[in-house]
Amino acid sequence: MDILAQLIVSGISVGMVYGVIAFGYQLTFATSKTLNFGQGEALMLGALVGLTTINFLIATGMSTLVAFALMLPIVLIFGLAQGAVVEFLGVRQAMRTKSEAGWIMATIALGIIFKNLAENIWGRDALRFPSPLPEQALSLGAVRIQPMEIAILLGALGLMVAVEIFNRKSIYGKAVVATALDRDAAGLMGIDTRLVITFSYALSSMSAAFAGVLVAPITLTGPAMGGALGLKAFAVAIIGGLSSGYGVVVGGMILGITENLTGYYISTGYKDVPGLLLLLLVLSIKPAGLFGSTAIKKV
């Protein structure tokens, strides 16, 4: 029982990271029906910018915790800007020409460019990210958990709740929701839908960058860190449903937990298999995802 609890707790914290990245996929899909396939690279860039900033701040004599807190807004702003750039360079043109696949190619290409850029700036090595919280594990009953894993859980949930509240309560957020519901109608009501789509890309990369600095202290930071995470988050977005914010949270947890359970109870060699099986299963039974609403595409 203790082991099961330990596996689930560890799975949840990994799953929440998948969830935040998948949340980013969901944000842009809602407004523009497009995705940023370079989401993993947005995460990686956020983490590396965060690393440079935090190292600079620590060098000025701050404690790691203060430096981490001061670094966060910089990383979030960087994420916003990076997302806007992706939308401007990669998606806008494809949407204008109503290209079905143009944005796929463009966002993948941008992801590769960002990765090469990062390799040139930060080198190809994996770097250690200073941990803002003590690395000593806490005991909750028989379950042991690192403080940073709790921070990942709370931070990820906090970010997603903040974005949801913003979308539901603020006038700008309502413009986002309106665009998501019906882009043409929103445009007729005087909403600059193009700006809204840029904004959703900015928010999407911001959440990825945030996930990057959350996960960096318990892993390593480097240009290669985004690839696998971005791909897993994509699976999560499919499993949970691209139209549901809650879906990706649950989807993330499902994937994180199944990975750990398979690793323990079946074989660590097959850790990645059930996630993919689940993906195929969901796609064949409920293509909109476990929590997605089935949309009818009118032609």
Partner: protein, 404 residues
């Protein structure tokens, strides 16, 4: 038929005369030696240290007048630890740069893919870091082999790891954790075999991918299987994740593994969690002989710092350059077959950093490091120190390959 042979011999001799003329015209041209290793990426601490060790030796050799009166020029290439890049580099070094020999290789997979081209072109390779057991015996059906090694292969290492855990520490329930690369999986096989010779069966054998960040499942499995020691075959970052996962789960058993536990990326990332790990080392950064003292000082004078990123790679790289220089001197030629013959019958006794090389190779044996040479190292306070200081005491400081 006889005519043909006659004609051929005339042609060959003309060609030879031609070559001698060219050679004498080039007599002060540098001798080109290839250097292939990962200078970026997860294996770069080993690659960079190896390169720096080789460069240090070549600088010394050139300052002392070079080889055959000519300086050695290193052609350095970054293989990024990728097999396909390693192959491209091998072809470039052989066909375009026309190197007379190549030093290097950190990754078993890269070496396995690239060495074939040297074998075909009859150009010797001194493999100075990669440990895969197969590497010096890739072509058992061919008459001659152009691959030589100055590192301790995985058969030696897995035997040392098993002995350390089972015999010296008395731990009979090992769990093997290995990554899913060639290195990890071949190492796991070698380890299982070495353990079976001691009548020990691993209680668990777990696997993970490069880049995996959560080792909870693997470590929990080892723990629940009742393991009393963890044996590892993986590289730095993932090894650090294992140490961190053990610390997280509050489970402390000794960790014994292949020499990669001495990588800076393991020691730095795992921090205090990484202390106590034990691994085979051909060289420990400690001035136990005057030669080693001079080497360590020269290294830090040239490259700064007070700790080599990978001392083993630096030392083996340094020694490999001296062995090659001695072979070229003895061959009085830069032709591959002659250098190979010289390597297989080296007359000069070379006092290296790792050991003293007295006839390190023969036609059958291309391994310079014998099982008695490496000792066990221990991670302590961010450095690698001897696990059992008595191993290096007195005249045991320099351990020499037995004659045979």
């Amino acid at each position: 038929m006889a005519n043909k042979i006659f004609l051929a011999s005339i042609l060959t001799s003309t060609a030879l005369v031609g070559m001698t003329l060219v050679a004498s015209a080039q007599s002060n041209n540098p001798i080109k030696v290839g250097l292939s290793g990962p200078f970026t990426g997860g294996s770069s601490s080993m690659g960079v240290s190896m390169r720096d060790g080789v460069k240090l030796a070549v600088d010394e050799i050139n300052k002392a007048g070079g080889v055959l009166g000519r300086p050695i020029q290193l052609i350095e290439r970054d293989d990024e630890a990728k097999n396909e890049v390693g192959v491209q580099i091998a072809q470039e070094l052989i066909n375009k740069e026309k190197v007379v020999a190549t030093l290097g290789f950190i990754n078993t997979g890269v070496a396995q893919a690239a060495q074939r081209f040297y074998q075909e072109s009859e150009i010797p390779v001194l493999n100075n870091v990669a440990t895969g057991s197969i590497l010096t015996n890739q072509w058992p059906d061919q008459k001659v082999n152009y691959v030589f090694r100055t590192s301790a292969n995985d058969i030696i290492q897995s035997a040392m790891i098993s002995n350390e855990a089972v015999t010296r520490l008395g731990l009979k329930k090992p769990a093997i954790l290995a990554d899913s690369t060639n290195y990890g999986q071949l190492g796991r096989e070698d380890l299982t075999l070495a353990l079976s010779k001691l009548n020990v069966k691993p209680v668990a054998a777990e696997k993970f991918n490069i880049g995996d960040t959560d080792m909870t499942a693997q470590v929990l499995k080892a723990k629940e299987a009742g393991a009393d020691v963890i044996l590892t075959y993986a590289i730095g970052p993932e090894l650090a994740q294992i140490a961190n996962a053990m610390a997280k789960l509050g489970w402390k058993v000794p960790m014994v593994g292949s020499w990669t536990l001495s990588m800076a990326s393991y020691i730095d990332t795992a921090g205090p969690n990484g202390d106590g790990a034990i691994m085979p080392q051909t060289f420990i950064e400690a001035p136990t002989t005057p030669k080693r003292k001079a080497f360590i000082e020269a290294y830090h004078k040239a490259y700064g710092g007070d700790r080599m990123p990978s001392p083993v790679s630096a030392a083996q790289g340094y020694d490999s350059a001296y062995i090659l220089a001695a072979a070229i001197t003895q061959a009085k030629s830069t032709e591959g077959p002659k250098i190979r013959q010289a390597l297989e019958n080296l007359e000069a006794k070379i006092e290296g950093v790792v050991t003293t090389y007295d006839k390190p190779y023969s036609a059958k044996d291309h391994e310079a490091i014998s099982p008695n040479i490496p000792i066990m190292g221990l991670v302590k306070g961010g450095r690698v120190v001897p696990a059992h200081p008595e191993d290096l005491a007195g005249d045991k400081a320099v351990r020499v390959k037995p004659k045979g």
